[in-house]
Amino acid sequence: MLEVRNLTKTFDGFRALDELSLTVPKGAIYGLVGPNGAGKSTVIRHMTGILRPDSGTVTIDGSPVYENPAVKAKIAYIPDDIFYFPSSNLRDMRRFYGGLYPGFDPDLYRSLLQVFGLDETMALRRFSKGMQKQAAFLLSICIRPELLILDEPVDGLDPVMRRQVWSLMLQDVAERGTTVLVSSHNLRELEDVCDHVGIMHKGKMMLERTLAELQDNVVKAQVVFREGADTLPEGLKVLHRSASGKIHTLIIRGSQELVNSALASVNPIFFDLVPLTLEEVFVYELGGVDYEVKSVIL
């Protein structure tokens, strides 16, 4: 389990992380979202042991990550801006990763090389951005990590390759129970793969829940009321209400059962409960907090 507790980091007086706490359960796929400058990459750099916290702790299964090679050997990290040694090729990097990570699987490497169709003798700097990402994924999966940390992982990949990368990652999660932390702006993609979500803003964790909790807690209803009877029952917490002709769209906080019975009690002509997308959940849950959050999510 990855645990971040009260993590604070200041850069020249600017508080990039402010008493941030988050928990990634073992085997979870955790989506970390937030606007630019929220501190996502900074917290990831603490999780990978790159940066030293000013205060607070980052632990994996109770052991600190910073300056702890034994723990770091369990982590695979793919940054948004990947670094390879100049003039090196995939074969050089394979040797390098093989030497540093005791769990590196050469058989898996060979099989994935076929899947990605990469030339391992070609200089990595000649690879396109997408191919470089593929190479990073290939190397990271092959070290058989317990924790996979991905910063904007599919940025720059074409749709086919995105799907391939996500399916590889999910396959690894399914087979080995790998814990994954993904930082991304693409909520639609996260919705398909994540089971936990954390949203950051200005160095703080604003919300951290499972996807199911989030989606169970807010319901979208489309209702056609009878003439003159559009008053909702007392106690129903409506986050958003809009109307198009006779059809009213309501975003209501509460479980499906609660909303269902409440709407049924006003005897509308028609009503239907529609599942909310992750994007909509964030907009309506956090829309009032700060317009920046809304703008990023939208």
């Binding site: 790159i50 090679p69 034994a70 940054p79 801006d81 990947i82 670094f83 040694f85």
Partner: protein, 565 residues
Amino acid sequence: MKSSLSFCNGTLLRKNLTRFAPLWGIYLAGVLLVGPVLLFVALGTAGHANRREIAEELLLVLRIASIYAHLIYALLTAGVCFKYLHKTRSAYMMHAFPVNRLTQFCTNVVSGLLFALVPQLLSAVLCLPVLALYGVPNALGLAGALLAHWVLQYLCFFGLAVFCMMLSGRTVIAALSYLAANIIGWALPFMVLRIVEPLFFGLDLGGSSFTFLSPMIQLSTQAGEGLLWPAVYGAVGLVLLALAWLHYRVRQLERTGEAMAYGWARVVFLLLFTLMAGLTVGWVLWMIFSMGGSIYHGVFGFCLCLCAGLFLGCFGARMMLSRTVRVFRRGKNWLVYGAIALAVVLCVLGVRFDVLGLQRMVPSLQSVRSVEIYTQESSMFGPPGDQIIIEDPQELQTVLALHREQTEQMAAGKILAEPDGFASNPFAPRGSIRYRVHLVYHLRGGLTIRRAYILTNIQEGSKLLDGLYAVPQRCEEYYARILPETVRTLEVYKTDTTYGLTGKSASIYPELRQAILADAAAGKFPIHCNAVRYNVILQSQEGDGHSYLNLDVPSTAAQTLALLD
């Protein structure tokens, strides 16, 4: 190598050795070429008789030349090993790998050392059979000395380069800092002296220098003097490596890309850069605007130039530190500049107006234990080592009177300070002889005070000095000590306007020596004099080499002149 206790990571080491093979490969080829190959060619074309001399001279040249080669090579090796710290992507990635900082540091240092030490060892070992082949005695000693010099030089430069790489967050700044560190110990005192010398009446540093702060300069000047200095600098290199590690331990990777990665280094960089650039630019500005005029007389104008120079220096330093040209938007930066400029200007004015009274100070007779006196003339044929030591209270009073005369005349405005830091008598008649006299006081409390003045031969002080230099017993002892028993060559020059060579040869030397000693015993051949009739240049045997001695023959030395006229 993979043990958790190991300080060296095999994978990182292998990566360094293979990735940077072209660098150490070129170095290896170079040291083999200038070592055994050059030695083989040089000894092969030399005669039997002088092979030892040739081998020794060649190895000495190699030791000197290698200083500059190692200066650059150490920067390159430290650069390639620690360059990853200067790019955010590489710094973050390398620290995400399961290798702790100590292991990374040690592996990189070992790599850097292997890049040089293996080629050096190979070259030195191959020199052995070459030296043995041509029968050069003490081959092991010669090759060992060469290897020791190379290793210690490299250790010094590599330690310094790694330290600079660690301090900086940018490779270019690290390289510039490294090169500056190699010369600043010489350059900064040089610039300070350029400014202080014209302002401090009687300033004499006694030949002391700060070149030991500049490894490159000190190693170059001491290359033929054994292993002491290389060993000292090698040890300094090790200390710098240890300091580099201490800094690496606490390095904040988010500082990557900044000119200086540590708070104290930013302050030192700001001060040194501002001072060095400020003093240099200020001095150059003064030379341009005053057309090379006297700093002493135009001290306020000079201070303005210094302020302008310091402004540029402070601006440059701040610009590099914050990577923006808008460095003076913050009031704090103006305050720092103001404080530096004020401190420098106060120092300059303090020296110029002798606030501490050092320039006017003449020691009391009771406080002086002895005084060393020696003169230094502008003529290249000035007498050598005309140093005398005065301990007699009567004579000490004479010296103090001479000193007092100088300070009083200066205070009365009868002597004007000159740009070269000494003083002259503006009323001295044309053609009067000027010479520099150095006074080194050894006080009873253990302190030493040094002063230097320019005298003209018509001054009262000069006459006092002449008296001290002409004491018969002192003169006889002096010349008996410095005159060799035999000489190889002898040349006598007339000191008239023609400065012509007379036809005298070494055959007259025994008689000449007797005549000089007789004149000295009679007080007619003083240790130093201004009325010179002849210059005598003697070449004598000294060990394996030879030495030269220049003598001024005064117009009072009757017996000597009888031989030379």
